[in-house]
């Protein structure tokens, strides 16, 4: 099995398309970092307009931790589209190329190939996330320095102490990997159903956009299905950045407000991954290779 996984990884490594996503992420992050470096104070000032009416905020608000949070907020919505570019091409791309015939006449079962391809696509996704983490977190920390994380949410502000932040990012990135693996497996499922790349790539992107809209619309009809949609859970990495408060309204250092929410989301996402991959295996097993 390792042999065919390494073959799939080698093919991803050799394919020029692989590097589009890495380049796109780097470009986006650098542009945002540059923008914040030059004009970040006015951006922070805009965010803190309401707070500044009442309070004086002393310290480096726009530090690497906040920049990373801003970057993740902006990018984790779009990275799935980049992931789809590779994941949705894994099977259909080879069907289109005609090389599916080559690999499916080797002494490895289709299930093994599908799993190898999924593992390779997942590895790609995780590498993309590590690249994102490196640029968004460590490079931001290097450029902007570190301080407490002063997080302005829609309805309240969370001030997380500097030494209480890094582990939250570790948690957030692990969570984000589940989100992105769900996208990978969805792209993979779409890929197993088609003989060309464009259909599954567009299909995966459309599905993400469609379900995201359903997740964000506050219409009672959709509220029933919302908890079961993967898009509802994909952005819950943010839960790592909210604190519990005690009876004195004092935030508890090292706490997470809603651990249960994170757990539920991880379970829902894992179930989605399992179902999507299982469906892909079944479809490919039953498929006649006509390409």
């Amino acid at each position: 099995m390792w042999k065919i996984i390494s073959i799939e990884l080698y093919k991803i490594y050799k394919r020029p398309r692989t590097y589009i996503a890495f380049g796109a992420i780097a470009a986006l992050i650098v542009v945002i970092q540059l923008g914040l470096k030059i004009d970040g104070e006015s951006y922070a000032g805009f965010l803190m307009k309401d707070i500044n009416d009442t309070l004086t905020v002393d310290g480096k608000v726009l530090n690497g931790y906040l920049v990373c949070y801003i970057l993740l907020q902006l990018l984790l919505v779009h990275v799935p589209l980049l992931v789809a570019l590779i994941a949705a091409d894994m099977i259909s791309g080879e069907a289109n190329l005609g090389t599916l015939r080559l690999i499916f006449t080797t002494p490895y079962s289709r299930t093994q190939w599908v799993m190898a391809k999924f593992i390779a696509a997942s590895t790609y996704t995780l590498l993309l996330l590590i690249w994102l983490a490196f640029l968004a977190l460590f490079v931001s920390m290097w450029i902007f320095g570190t301080d407490d994380l002063f997080l302005m949410k829609s309805n309240y502000v969370v001030l997380i102490q500097g030494d209480d932040v890094l582990w939250r990012y570790v948690g957030a990135f692990i969570f984000a990997s589940f989100s992105l693996l769900t996208v990978t497996s969805l792209g993979f499922l779409m890929s197993s159903m088609a003989n060309n790349s464009i259909g599954p790539i567009v299909g995966t992107m459309s599905a993400i956009v469609f379900f995201t809209i359903l997740s964000t619309l506050n219409i009672p009809l959709f509220s029933i299905i919302k908890p079961y949609l993967f898009t509802t859970h994909m952005n819950n990495w943010k839960e790592f950045f909210d604190l519990q408060v005690d009876a004195n309204n004092e935030a508890i250092k090292g706490s997470i407000l809603n651990v249960a929410k994170i757990k539920t989301s991880l379970i829902v996402l894992t179930i989605h991954i399992g179902l999507f991959v299982a469906a892909s295996v079944l479809i490919v097993k039953k498929k006649d290779i006509l390409s």
């Binding site: 042999k3 065919i4 390494s6 073959i7 080698y10 093919k11 050799k14 394919r15 020029p16 190329l97 005609g98 090389t99 015939r101 080559l102 690999i103 499916f104 006449t105 080797t106 002494p107 490895y108 079962s109 039953k286 006649d288 290779i289 006509l290």
Partner: protein, 302 residues
């Protein structure tokens, strides 16, 4: 031992029957020619032999074992190219061979890969990406991939597609070499019968998914059944004269021209008889070959 044993396999795609109750067997060490026009069901059959397509009914055995149950183990002994030489454009020839060596249980060394590149005439381009290759070079690399693990059964679907005359001759020699020198079983398909008749010892012709003829190439190429096509200025007058001659019994009941079936050695006599009967001859063409037979059987079944 039969290397391939196919029993009444059929494949339906919706209402279309691509392969219809096809049975045949291929013995060890023989070159088996699988003939049919484009769309006759050849590729579907070959894909079923390689488990790319699931048969709707019937059974396939390779090396005496059912393919369905022993797929992985059996495919270890098979090398194949199927239709077009589709490869990864971003990989080099050597990388292709390396990758497909890795999926084999057998240890394949760099020397084996070099030998394969040599065999298919790609040594000088081994480090070039496939996207720079001509169709013929891709086809040769495809054959290289099929051969790199030294399989016992080689399935070649239209191996001369896209090759120039020299390339076609090379493939022919390679098939002959593999069968005679290395004792491989070669299952080769084509729609060009002239290629097959030169290499195959057994021939199976299919049309619209059904077997229309099968047997030894020698028997199918029986010199006593040479077909002669005669073109005249006036076919009606010529036919009257022929009916009055001793060759009347050899005349074939065809409406598309004047055809005879007769032993090859009698062609000069036919020629002479027609000249003596004052038939205005334009052309006499003998088609004592499998190609003629193929055209005949496929047109008959039409």
């Amino acid at each position: 031992m039969a290397v391939i044993e196919v029993q009444s396999i059929s494949k339906n795609f919706g209402s279309l029957t691509a392969v219809d109750q096809l049975s045949f067997s291929v013995q060890q060490g023989e070159v088996f020619g699988f003939l049919g026009q484009n769309g006759s069901g050849k590729s579907t059959t070959i894909r079923m032999l390689l488990s790319l397509i699931h048969p709707s009914s019937g059974s396939i055995q390779l090396f005496g074992l059912p393919l369905k149950e022993h797929r992985n183990e059996l495919l270890e002994k098979v090398g194949a190219i199927i239709e077009r030489p589709d490869l990864y454009p971003y990989l080099t020839a050597r990388e292709h061979l390396k990758l497909f060596s890795q999926v084999r249980k057998k240890q394949i060394t760099t020397a084996d890969i070099n030998a394969t590149l040599e065999k298919v005439g790609l040594s000088h381009r081994s480090s070039d990406k496939v996207q720079t290759f001509s169709l013929g070079m891709k086809q040769r690399l495809g054959i290289g991939i099929a051969l790199v693990h030294n399989p016992e059964l080689i399935i070649l679907d239209e191996p001369t597609n896209g090759l120039d005359p020299q390339g076609i001759a090379d493939i022919r020699h390679l098939i002959q070499y593999l069968a005679k020198e290395e004792g491989k079983t070669v299952f080769v398909s084509s729609h060009l019968l002239s290629e097959i008749e030169q290499v195959a010892s057994q021939i199976l012709i299919i049309h619209q998914g059904k077997k229309v003829a099968a047997g030894d190439t020698d028997k199918l190429l029986d010199p006593n059944k040479t077909i002669v096509h005669v073109t005249t200025l006036n076919d009606e007058a010529a036919l009257l004269a022929i009916h009055a001659s001793s060759f009347a019994g050899n005349l074939l009941p065809r409406k598309d021209g004047i055809y005879f079936m007769l032993p090859k050695h009698e062609i000069p006599m036919l020629h002479k008889a027609m000249v003596l009967a004052d038939i205005a001859l334009l052309n006499v063409e003998s088609k004592n070959s499998l190609e003629d037979y193929f055209l005949q059987v496929t047109s008959n079944s039409n």
